[in-house]
C-alpha cells in the first residue's frame, strides 16, 4: 500500500523545513534505513531516513522547496502502484505548493515587460557589452533604426573626448595612462593624472580581490538572532575575577578518574546557583517574567562555519559526571551535524567559554529569550595582594551580560559575587 511521506517535525518549534537534497530519484528502490532526503531548518540540517522498503513513486516537493511540517513531500509504495488517489490528496492537503507556484510566475512576467526588443547588430552588441556601454540608450542609425557598429564606435569616441590641461596630456602620454578613466567634471590637470598613476601602481602591487559568499542558513540565523538580541535587550556587562586555585586542584584530581573540563565544572556550579537567582534564569514575554525551578544550560560550541548552543536539560540536578558526558556528547554531535532541534531548544541560561584563546574579558550577547549569558575567560597566573603579601594565584575573569529589563545591577552583582564564592569554594555546590 503506497503511503505519503511528510516533512517531519523535528522539534516542538519547527514549523517548516527546506528540502536541500533528494538522495533517491523517482522510481528508485528504497530500503529501510536508506537516506531519503536532507532538510535544512532554521537551526540545523538533518537527514530523513526511510522506515520501510519500497519504491519512491513520486517526489512531490523538489529540492529547494520549503515545506510546512507534516505536509506531503513524496509517495513511497510498490513499483507500478496506482497513486493517483494519493496524489489528489497530496494536492488538496498542500496549499503551500500553489502559493510557491505563484511566486515563480511573477518575476517572469516582470522581466517580460522590461525586456523590450532593441534592434542591434551582433557585432555592435558585442562591442557595447565589451565596453560596458548601455546600448538601450543609443539611437540606432542603421537600416530600420538598427544600432550598428558605427553607433557604438561614435559612443566610444564621445567617451574619449576628455578635457585636460596640456601638461596633464603630456604627463598622461609619458606614463602611458588612459586619462579617460578619470571621473571628473572639471578639466583634468596634472595632479589627477599623477594620482591615477599612483593608484594604478598601488593596485598592481596589492591585487585587491573581494569575494561574495552567500550566507549559509546557520549564518543567517546567527545574524538574525544576534541582531534581534542586540536591539531588544538593554544590557549591562559585569566582570569579576575568581581565584581558581581550588577548582584547579579538583579538576586535576578528578581528571585522574575521568577527563573533565573547567566548562563542565562551571556549568555544574552555575546551574545550582541559578536556582537562587531566578531572574538570571528567566524569560521576559510581553509584560510577564517567566521564572523556573529548573535550569537548562546552553553551552556554546564553535563550529567551522558558525556556532551552535546545545542545551543540557535540567543541569541543576545532574551530577558533574553526567553533565561532563552530556556536554562531550552534545559537542561531538554539534560538530558532526547530528543534533536534533530539541537538543537546541528551551535553554534558560548560556555559558560560553573562549578562555582557551587567552581572552581575559569580553561582552557576550544574550541568547534570546534568555536574560543573561556568562562568558568564561582564560586562567592566568597573576600577582595578588593577600594579607599584605604579594602572591601568585591562577585568576580567571567571569564576563556576565544581563538584560536590565529583568536583571538589575545589584541582582547581577550579587549573583556574580556568589558565583565567585562558589567557584573559589566549590565543594558545597559540586556535591549537590
Amino acid at each position: 500500500m503506497a503511503r505519503i511521506i511528510v516533512m517531519p517535525k523535528l522539534g516542538l518549534t519547527m514549523k517548516n523545513g527546506k528540502i536541500i537534497k533528494w538522495h533517491k530519484k523517482e522510481n528508485e528502490e528504497v530500503k529501510n534505513g536508506d537516506k531519503l532526503f536532507s532538510i535544512e531548518t532554521d537551526k540545523l540540517t538533518n537527514d530523513v531516513i526511510a522506515d520501510e522498503d519500497g519504491v519512491l513513486l513520486k517526489i512531490i516537493e523538489d529540492e529547494g522547496k520549503t515545506v510546512d511540517c507534516l505536509k506531503p513531500v513524496a509517495i513511497i509504495g510498490k513499483a507500478g502502484e496506482d497513486i493517483s488517489n494519493l496524489l489528489g490528496n497530496a494536492k488538496t492537503e498542500s496549499p503551500q505548493e500553489e502559493k510557491s507556484n505563484e511566486k515563480i510566475e511573477k518575476p517572469v512576467e516582470a522581466t517580460a515587460k522590461t525586456d523590450e526588443k532593441i534592434k542591434i547588430s551582433p557585432v555592435a552588441k558585442k562591442m557595447a557589452l565589451e565596453n560596458k556601454i548601455d546600448y538601450t540608450k543609443i539611437k540606432g542609425t542603421g537600416p530600420n533604426g538598427r544600432i550598428v557598429l558605427e553607433d557604438i564606435e561614435r559612443e566610444l569616441e564621445n567617451r574619449k573626448k576628455i578635457r585636460m590641461t596640456p601638461t596633464a596630456k603630456v604627463v598622461a602620454e609619458e606614463l602611458g595612462l588612459d586619462a579617460g578613466s578619470i571621473d571628473k567634471k572639471e578639466r583634468i590637470d596634472k595632479e589627477d593624472v599623477l594620482r591615477l598613476s599612483a593608484n594604478k601602481a598601488y593596485d598592481n602591487l596589492v591585487h585587491p580581490v573581494e569575494k561574495r559568499i552567500p550566507m549559509s542558513t546557520m549564518r543567517k540565523v546567527i545574524s538574525e538572532r544576534m541582531t534581534q538580541s542586540a536591539f531588544t535587550a538593554p544590557t549591562v556587562n559585569y566582570t569579576i575575577s575568581v581565584d581558581m586555585t581550588k577548582l584547579n586542584d579538583i579538576k586535576e584530581e578528578i581528571s585522574n578518574d575521568y577527563k573533565i573540563t573547567y566548562t563542565d565544572l562551571i556549568v555544574k556550579i552555575t546551574s545550582v546557583l541559578l536556582l537562587d537567582f531566578p531572574l538570571l534564569n528567566s524569560t521576559l514575554i510581553e509584560d510577564e517574567i517567566i521564572t523556573r525551578n529548573y535550569v537548562n544550560m546552553g553551552v556554546a560550541v564553535a563550529l567551522e562555519e558558525g556556532l551552535l548552543v546545545p542545551v543540557v536539560k535540567n543541569s541543576h540536578i545532574k551530577s558533574l559526571k553526567q553533565i561532563s558526558l552530556e556536554i562531550k556528547d552534545l559537542t561531538y554531535r554539534a560538530k558532526t551535524n547530528q543534533l536534533t532541534t530539541d537538543e537546541l531548544e528551551n535553554g534558560t541560561f548560556t555559558i560560553t567559554n573562549i578562555g582557551k584563546f587567552g581572552i581575559e574579558s569580553f561582552t557576550p550577547i544574550i541568547n534570546q529569550p534568555q536574560s543573561a549569558i556568562l562568558g568564561i575567560n582564560a586562567i592566568i597566573d597573576k600577582p595578588i595582594v593577600k594579607n599584605g603579601q604579594i602572591i601568585v594565584l591562577p585568576i580567571m575573569n567571569l564576563s556576565l551580560t544581563a538584560d536590565h529589563r529583568t536583571v538589575d545591577g545589584a541582582v547581577a552583582a550579587m549573583f556574580l559575587q556568589e558565583l565567585k564564592k562558589a567557584l573559589e569554594n566549590p565543594f558545597a555546590k559540586l556535591v549537590r
Binding site: 547588430s121 551582433p122 557585432v123 542603421g142 537600416p143 550598428v148 558605427e150
Partner: protein, 323 residues
Amino acid sequence: MKNLSMMEAIREAMTKKMREDPTVFIMGEDVGAFGGCFGVTAGMFDEFGAERVRDTPISEGVIIGCAVGAAATGTRPIAELMFIDFVTVGADQLVNQAAKMRYMVGGKIKLPMVVRLPLGAGTRAAAQHSQSLEAWLAHIPGLKVVYPSCPNDAYGLMLKAIEDDNPVVFLEHKILYGVRGEVDENAKPIEFGKADIKREGKDLTVAATGRMVHEALKTAEELSKDGIEIEVFDPRTLFPFDKETLFKSIEKTNKLLIVSEENKRGSFAGEISAMVAEECFDNLDAPIKRLCAVNSPVPFSPVLEDYYVPNAEDIVKAVTTMF
C-alpha cells in the same frame, strides 16, 4: 606569362597534364575531331589522337560511368558533359557510384577523375541548358566542387583537379570561356580550399562565384566612387570551402552580401550564409543578404534572361540597403 582566355587556360592545363602523364585522357560528346561543344578541346585530338580524346555516345550515364570504371582501374579520366543540366541523366553514376566508391571499399581504390560541367545562364540557351546546379553537387559527400572565375584560377585548379585522387566536379561558366587574363603557365597547381580575395575593401564583403565575381568587381568600381569599398571574396572551390578567409574578411567589414547565379531557394549561397550565421555571428553588423537568380526556370526570352541573372546594377542596389 601568357594572355589566355579561360577556355584556352583550361585546354592548356589539360594538355600539360596529358603530355606529362599518359594515363590522363578526355572523353565526352564531340570532344574529338569536332573540338568540343564550346571548343574547349580544340586541337587536342590532333595532338593526342582518338584513344586519348575520345568521342562518346550521347549518354551522360555512359560518360560518367566509364570515367568511374577507368579511374578505379588506374587511369585519370577527364569527362566532359555539354551542359551541367545533363548531369541529372548521369546522376546515379556521379552521386551513387563516383562519390561513394572510394569510401565504400575502405579506401582500397583511388578514384582520380574530373567531370567538367559547363554551366550558367546568359547564352540564350533556355531552361534546360542554362542552370547553376552547384548546390546539388556540393551537397554530396565524396565530391569536390571547383568553380573558377578567371583564366589563371581555371589553369591552376584544373592542374590540381587532374592530380587529385578523388572525383572532382569542375564547373565552367560558359559566359566566362571568352574572358581573357594573364596565366602563369609555370605556376604550381592551386590548392583546393584556398579562396582568393579578388579585390580588397573595408566596408562590405561580397562573396561571389563564377560570372558573379566579375559583376561584383564592376560594382566595386561603381561604389568606390561613392566612397564604399567592397571586398570581393571568391571561394574558388565550394567544397572544400575556405571559411577562414571569409570569416577574416567579415571580421574586417562586418557585412556580407552573397551573390550567386543559382535559384535562391536551396542555393549554396544559403550554405555560406548559414556558415557565417553559425560561426561568425558576433562579427556581423547587418543581416546577411543573398542576391541570387529568381526562383524560376531560366527564361528563353533575352529580356527576361537578363532580368533573371543578377548584374552589377542589382548588386549596387543590394549593397546600398545594407548601410
